[in-house]
Amino acid sequence: MESIIYYILTVSLAPLFPAVIDKIKAVSVGKKGPSLFIKYYDLIRFLKKELVYSKSTTWIFRFAPLIIIITYLLALLFFPIAGEKPVISFNYDFIVVVYLFALSRFFLLLSSLNTASSFEGMGASREAFMSFLAEGSLFMTFILAVKLTGVPSLMGFLGNIGAQILWHQAGIFAIMSIIVIFMILIVENARKPIDDPDTHLELTMIHEVMILDNSGPDLGLMEFGSFLKFLFFGGVLSRLIFPVDYNIGALNYLIFIVGLFIVASALGLLESISVRYKLPRNTTFLISSFAIATLALIFSIGVK
């Protein structure tokens, strides 16, 4: 029951964190920035609008936003929020979660190619390229986590005991995993320095360009899907940074949310001080995340 309450609470907080990133970016350049609830207003605005469908599109374009939002909602059901037992948990659930992400990506790519627009084809091509590399790093981290904790489930390595195990051995594995997951989070959520969410030129976009033709509630659903995706990866980081286990559930939850705020602020800071990479550099970024994850796995060979 507690896990369901946490789930509902966390999902409803999801639009808060991207706003935190925007706020920090604005503050760092001396602006006041939008309200923290801006994304809620956005979502409501989107839901009130009409739906515009290009004549080139088919049912896939209409279906894709629904499948994207549902897969992310479903994926979060597996997540041990604040270290509590998640709503659904079984062995090897993380493989299912990663492949649910793949399902949503498949439909995202298809819906963007459905519009017959060259811009969106370009974005889809980049997304397909980067996501397969990111998946490799993600699985490398999972291998490390399963090897160290011995429990092959998200609950196993992000639950109370698992996350602490990663901090043993001088914390090296936790730190390396945090770095890798942070890099994956940047890629998956299309943030700087991989992709610039504020860019205004279609040719340079990756994620934004893929949803160029979605409108109204569909766009809202897709946006909400990306908030949930941030929640997932940010949540993993939060659990890795603060693998706390107090007896009071509310306190654990509070720390979890604080962790999420910290991740969002770190992203905001990074976005304010960094520039976007040239596209070929993205490969280097992704391969480095893979290399770090591999290194961590090699370090872990001797660990019992």
Binding site: E50, S56, Y92, M122, A124, F139, E202
Partner: protein, 702 residues
């Protein structure tokens, strides 16, 4: 003239009948004298007699013959032939499934006392492969009714059904034969009939070339298998497979490696795969579906059979299979990404999926070596289930590709587009096939990949050898999954979605029912295995246990019932959302145009192309893909016509060409001196050769 031709036809048919009856006269006494040699296993509960599978092969062959005999009446011959082949296949399929479920083993031996006994062995693993073969064959046969509709080529189509029937029957024969001679007989029948099927359009230069490449490959591979079995015969003195385990270890290794090369070349494992992208695109689509879906699995069956017969438990063999699997898997999909021809692309995906099967086998073998039976069970079960899954979705995809090619008249992805609006059913089936092949839930590809993943994740804590193998296997699977997603979004996005790029694709029509129904059925099976995996996984693990590969039951399989729950939640939520959106926004939907950046008259040609879509990934794998560019860039203020054309070549092919084909053809050039076309000389050569051989025997040996 017409009268003459009709007479000729009848003459041909009579000749055929004569040949057939001669064969039957020779075979029938043997059939009459024979009896079932040995039976083991429990007798009760047998619904069908043990020789049902042979009966089913005979019915399938009969179907082929009827197709030829009635070929004058075009529709009738096709209907009779397809019906008979389907009935035979269905019978065999049902029998195979009862054997698998009842978990029995029989041996049938005809001509027991003769030099070469016709011995067959029916066990769950061979019946599993037979069932896959027969299931796909039924669908391909039905599909061919719509696909083979060229009335001008009645006789060719009739013979095509004969070849098809021989191919199906010989594949079943390969799986059940229990001595090397019979095995090779069926193996060669399979190779030759499939070669003849590939050559269906043999009057085209391109087809002829591809057909010969296939013929050379399959026979070179066949020679390795001959060598392997000959070596086994020398060592054991028996042609029966039952004696294979009594060889010394070093011979076992040699037998396995030789056989492995042969079987790998049939299966399309990485360095030996070059025939696939030639043979599959030119064959008729239902043939490609059978060849790619099940015929290459005979190579996998051969490898598994050798592993079982020889009782190999060797870590290096495990690593060999794993590494070749990883190479085939990743490079197969990379080469697929570089293709423009839809059927070539699918052919390369066969290489990829064979890679996944080998990764499963490799992880299983390595787990077995380290006495970790859970890993062995999961690895083998994953590999076997992927055999079934790949057969289903690959034949589905080839059928879809065939329908698209028939409808648009082009093989090129760049010339299609917008087909989803014009061919909705075919496209939906193709979409399901694509999701399944990319290993995406809730479809069947995910189930087998999950099994292999589970095997891999079990091997992280025992020893460094196992850790390395598991890590490589898992990462390779993850990369393959991502790349396959990229590749199939390319196919679907560029050719099925968007706007039509040519007139032919704008005028594409949905294919006839006979072509659509098999696709729908295959797609449904993909979904059923995907959503309700439990039954299939348990049956497969039973087979894996029967192989004596592993003996334990595995508690980790409890994941699969939970998958069903997740999928049901997923489907329920999506349908709720679909209904909600339809209700709320029914009146608030507007038609518009795609955002074109303010440019008001885009043409369909300005869409993103398949090669551009795949280019970042192909560039990333540059060392392995040889890209040739033919470019005439835009120049000057008033540019004339510009051109850009890219081609990709795969590494194995280039290396083979350099190291094998060129030296051999150079050597043969020297031999050409001897072959000047004068028949007298040839007779002379024969006489000289025979004299030399006789002289050798009489003078030196005695």
């Amino acid at each position: 003239m017409i009268y003459n031709r009709a007479k000729l036809d009848i003459k041909k048919k009579l000749m055929y009948f004569l040949c057939l009856s001669v064969v039957l006269i020779f075979i029938s006494p043997a059939m009459a004298n024979s009896g079932i040699g040995m039976t083991s296993g429990v007798e009760y509960g047998d619904i069908l007699p043990h020789s049902t599978i042979i009966l089913s092969m005979a019915i399938i062959m009969l179907g082929g013959l009827l197709g030829v005999l009635f070929s004058k009446w075009f529709n009738l011959s096709r209907i009779i032939s397809i019906l008979t082949i389907s009935v035979g296949s269905l019978l065999g399929c049902i029998y195979a499934i009862t054997i698998i479920l009842n978990n029995k083993t029989y041996e049938l031996t005809y001509l027991m006392g003769y030099l070469i006994p016709l011995s067959f062995k029916i066990d769950p693993i061979s019946m599993f492969f037979s069932a896959v073969v027969l299931l796909v064959s039924i669908m391909a046969a039905i599909y061919s009714y719509g696909y083979m509709d060229d009335k001008k080529r009645k006789l060719a189509i009739g013979f095509q059904y004969l070849n098809f029937a021989v191919l199906v029957a010989s594949m079943v024969g390969v799986t059940i034969s229990n001595n090397s001679i019979i095995f090779l007989l069926f193996w060669e029948l399979m190779s030759i009939s499939s070669f003849l099927l590939v050559m269906f359009d043999g009057f085209k230069e391109e087809v002829k070339k591809s057909g010969y490449i296939y013929l050379i490959y399959t026979h070179a591979g066949g020679m390795f298998i001959f060598a392997s079995f000959a070596l086994a015969y020398m060592s054991t003195g028996s042609i029966s497979f039952d004696h294979f385990s009594s060889m010394p270890d070093i011979v076992k290794m040699a037998v396995f490696l030789l056989g492995f090369i042969g079987f790998a070349s049939k299966a399309g494992v990485f360095p030996f795969h070059s025939w696939l992208p030639y043979a599959h695109p030119v064959a008729p689509s239902h043939v490609s579906a059978v060849m790619s879906g099940v015929m290459i699995k005979m190579g996998i069956y051969g490898i598994i059979m050798l592993l079982l017969l020889l009782g190999i438990n060797n870590i290096y063999i495990g690593y060999l299979i794993l590494i070749l699997g990883i190479l085939s898997g990743i490079l197969g999909v990379v080469y697929a990404l570089a293709q423009h021809d839809i059927k070539r692309l699918l052919a390369y995906h066969s290489v990829e999926n064979i890679g996944i099967i080998l990764i499963g086998l490799g992880i299983g073998l390595i787990g077995k070596y380290y006495n970790n039976e859970t890993i062995a069970l999961l690895g083998f079960a994953g590999a076997l289930l992927h055999v079934l899954n790949h057969a289903l979705f690959k034949s589905l995809l080839f059928m879809g590709a065939g329908a698209v090619i028939k409808s648009t008249g082009t093989h090129s992805l760049e010339e299609m587009g917008g087909l989803m609006k014009r061919m909705p059913t075919t496209s939906l089936a193709f979409l399901i096939g694509s999701l399944a092949i990319s290993g995406i839930p809730p479809f069947n590809g995910f189930v087998s990949e999950l099994l292999i993943y589970m095997g891999g994740f079990n091997g992280l804590n025992s020893s460094i050898g196992l850790l390395t193998a598991s890590t490589f296997g898992i990462i390779a699977l993850a990369l393959i999954g991502g790349l396959a997603t990229a590749c199939f979004t390319k196919v679907l996005g560029i050719s099925f979605l968007g706007e039509p790029k040519t007139k032919a694709s704008a005028n594409a029509k949905e294919s006839p029912y006979s072509m659509r129904i098999p696709q729908i059925i295959l797609a449904l099976i993909c979904v059923i295995i995907g959503i309700l995996p439990t039954f299939f996984v348990y049956s497969i693990t039973k087979i894996a246990q029967n192989l004596n590969l592993v003996e334990i039951t595995c508690s980790q399989l409890s994941v699969f019932p939970k998958l069903t729950e997740i999928y049901l939640i997923l489907i329920a939520l999506i349908s709720i959302l679909v209904v909600i959106r339809a209700l709320i926004y029914r009146t608030k939907t507007v038609d518009g145009y795609t955002w074109d950046c303010g440019y008001s008259a885009p043409t369909a040609k300005m869409q993103y192309t398949a090669s551009s879509y795949a280019s970042p990934i192909v560039e990333f794998f540059k060392p392995f893909v040889i890209i040739k560019l033919h470019e005439k860039p835009v120049e000057g203020i008033f540019p004339s016509k510009a051109k850009y054309h890219s081609e990709s070549k795969d590494l194995a092919e280039a290396v083979f060409e350099l190291l094998l084909v060129k030296p051999i053809s150079y050597g043969l050039l020297l031999l050409r001196y001897l072959k000047d076309g004068n028949f007298n000389y040839y007779m002379g050569y024969v006489i000289v050769l025979i004299s030399v051989l006789l002289a050798y025997i009489y003078l030196i040996r005695w």
